[in-house]
């Protein structure tokens, strides 16, 4: 998983839960990194057109940012369900993290036919546990 993907996923999940704009401190807490690291990454995301960053209000995903975040989250959810439900690996999150960034969307779409993903995906992603909130229940 690239750093950009991690940031987009976190910002997306916090935005859905708490609304936008998202405070940089909340991003740092979610990713367990220092605020300085967040401050260093945000200009890169803004330059790529993925976020709007207002210094004293926080971060808002742009439309391309939302699309990229949803794509990354859906791909990750497919990977989690594939490693757990199809490959029967025990450490679903750990194993999915190994494949995150290795399995891209085109291949994930093929694997998606083999797994049962919730209709509300990716809004059911729980950033604190780095997994779909329903995964343990399915």
């Amino acid at each position: 998983m690239t750093a950009v993907t991690r940031y987009l996923r976190a910002i997306y999940a916090i935005s859905r839960r708490e609304g936008a704009p998202v405070a940089t401190g909340a991003i740092a807490d979610a990713l367990e990194v220092t605020p300085a690291s967040v401050s260093e990454m945000l200009p890169k995301l803004a330059e790529a057109g993925l976020i709007q960053h207002e210094k004293y209000t926080g971060v808002t995903l742009t439309d391309p940012g939302i699309t990229a975040a949803e794509d990354a989250l859906e791909t990750y959810c497919i990977i989690e369900r594939f490693v757990g439900g199809v490959l029967s690996l025990e450490d679903v999150v750990g194993e999915a993290q190994q494949l995150d960034g290795v399995i891209h969307r085109g291949v994930a779409d093929r694997l998606d036919m083999l797994v049962d993903r919730r209709p509300e995906c990716p809004d059911c992603f729980d950033p604190a546990r780095d997994r779909c909130q329903y995964l343990a229940d399915d």
Partner: protein, 186 residues
């Protein structure tokens, strides 16, 4: 399923495969039960490749049970054989990267059984199904080549593995081309 005999027959692997095996055996520590396997990301990536190729095999074999003899059946039989050969090569690489792993245990027949008879518009035409499978495998190998620099693979190993993966990618491209050609002939 990866047959035990095919993996035991490592002599059937290409010369380039043997080079990869030699590199890994000489440079990587053995995994133990107390430590995570070396190169876990690479092993898992190759495991996905094994799964995709095996999926092509089981679905192709299921289609062959229902197809009359003819050019389409002949082509699908060839696609199945080619996918099985790639699956076995990937399995051999996995066991080379981590000798503590038995590749035929990573993708077991029971895992594939539910997916041998997938139904729906995308699966009704055997050639459509094989085309999708081939395009997915092509994309997988292309993505993996792009991802290798981010994996914990040494430069020398990476160059050899890249060349081997590119070879698999070209083989899948040839398969896709054969399927599209057959589609045009129908």
């Amino acid at each position: 399923m990866i047959s035990a005999s095919s993996l035991r027959s490592l002599c059937a692997l290409s010369r380039r495969d043997k080079v990869i095996m030699t590199i890994h055996r000489s440079s990587q520590p053995m995994a133990t039960h107390d430590h995570p396997p070396v190169h876990l990301r690479l092993v898992r990536a190759l495991q996905v490749g094994v799964f995709l190729e095996e999926l092509t095999v089981v679905r192709g074999n299921r289609q062959l049970e229902q197809l009359a003899e003819g050019p389409t059946a002949d082509l699908i039989a060839t696609m199945v054989d080619d996918a099985a050969a790639r699956r076995d090569r990937l399995g051999g690489w996995i066991e080379t990267v981590d000798p503590s792993i038995s590749a035929d245990q990573l993708v077991r027949p029971s895992m594939l059984e539910p997916y041998a008879a997938l139904e729906g518009p995308s699966f009704e035409d055997p050639l459509d199904d094989q085309l999708y499978a081939g395009e997915t495998a092509y994309k997988f190998y292309a993505d993996l080549v792009d991802t290798l620099p981010a994996l914990d693979v040494g430069r020398g190993d990476r160059d050899a593995l890249t060349a081997a993966l590119l070879s698999l990618r070209e083989e899948t491209a040839a398969g896709v081309e054969a399927v599209t050609r057959r589609m045009g002939e129908r």
